[in-house]
Symmetry: C2
Subunit: 307 residues, 2 copies
Amino acid sequence: MIKKEIQLKVPATVANLVCGFDILGMAIHEPYDEMELRLLSDPIIKIKHLDDFGLPEKAEKNVVGVVLRKIMEHTQMKQGFEVIIKKNIKPGSGLGSSAASAAGAAFGANVLLGKPFSYPQLVYFAIYGEELASGTRHADNIAPCIYGGITLVKSSRPLDIIPLTSPDLLVTAVHPQVEIKTSDARQILKNKIPLKDAVTQWGNIAGLITGILKNDVDLIGRSLNDVVIEPTRSILIPKFSEIKEKSILEGALGGGISGSGPSIFMLSKKKETAEKIAKIMCEEYRKIGVRQYVYVSKINQQGITIL
Amino acid sequence: MIKKEIQLKVPATVANLVCGFDILGMAIHEPYDEMELRLLSDPIIKIKHLDDFGLPEKAEKNVVGVVLRKIMEHTQMKQGFEVIIKKNIKPGSGLGSSAASAAGAAFGANVLLGKPFSYPQLVYFAIYGEELASGTRHADNIAPCIYGGITLVKSSRPLDIIPLTSPDLLVTAVHPQVEIKTSDARQILKNKIPLKDAVTQWGNIAGLITGILKNDVDLIGRSLNDVVIEPTRSILIPKFSEIKEKSILEGALGGGISGSGPSIFMLSKKKETAEKIAKIMCEEYRKIGVRQYVYVSKINQQGITIL
């Protein structure tokens, strides 16, 4: 049966996962966007935002609209979509805000159309939304948003996504209210890196993947080191090193920058540890008068869910 | 019961495994060295080579001697060792010849002493042999020789070795009789690599590890790409690209340079494919009048075995 209307819970995502720059991503439970999609009898796209982030509602300027338009072109459908969005994932947070909109649009449309598309196809459509938002065609937030858990984007062209089984870990994420543009975070990166550092990095990636697939939490902890991106990008994030150091002292397995920042995330085995880390994060930002949102949740194994 | 005498079959190994430069290695069945070790009542080391590779038999100049000396120092033992070696893994082949001597020495001594050491400790001792042979302290051949199968050397300092389950694949390896010094093969590498290439490489490594652990042979095939080392090093190996191209056309999953060359290896699902690839390798080198040894065997899950 084809549904005419659907309500979705679309989760935030953490891209990069410390050493997995541009290839790994993970869905979390908090924060999440709420989306409502319904089929319209005319081939038009109506978008309404219930949040106050000031995002454009014109279809061709909105991530959701661009993704839906691609799907409408592809299917040559005669109908259209109405979408009502309440975003809780703040744009520019580094928690996959644009990816949530893009993935939610593709996922929701697929359900309303009777599921003609596979997950890789949904990612393919959603990437057009990321392109509008950030200028780059990347899938490292979209993939975990749609698949849930931790995903590997082995390559972007051709698109090759591999869902990984995810360990049952807690994630603490903090979004300090400072602005870092994705383009700045990209520009600060060096075009060339020492081969020696690359070898260290891929040793850690290999260790992290093995730890995830074997559910070896200690190995995950030993592998959460980024010698390539973090040393440069963390400069842009106030209190990064203090938070990381104190979190690990408190028992975090490790963590780092979420996406291109400014959000920071930490992984823990126990809920108590994750909550203590949340406190540390709040305290550090209060000290310097920076407002912050903190989220504690498990790794989200489901990804987008239908309400 | 402590044995007084032991005979070992010590296998060749393939380091790097295409995209896993400096971190991955794999044991194969052919070729292998034969080693005989026995305890002596005096704290001396006697080494005798039954092969004709002209390796020094003085303990301090022989890989085996250096490893045994380390173990003798560590245990403060009053006894010594006599070792008779018939090497079949040619030095300089890129098939882990020095690693086999070093690993065999450590493994054999451990058995003769009643197994006081763990596998990581054996790797630690054997690395001194690699250092003598090549000037670098690397474990990517030693680890699979001792553990068997495919191993990940997540980091060399501190030593962190993770054995991976290995898929049941066939390996075809060819050793063309041309000389490439490990030091030359190192020198030709660039000190810095583009970040873009590093991301492609670690995507492939993550895919390869996932393929190995999930026994997903197609994913292994899709991940066997090296954009960092192979484009430079393969220049030193005659007929490399012809052999690789024809092998893949014949059905190989993929392959590349074994260690720092000149040996080349290819992975296949079926024995017939592996044997056809052996023929291709022979033909290509015959065309240019280069003598070659070709080996077809499964991935060696056991590593060193006691006869």
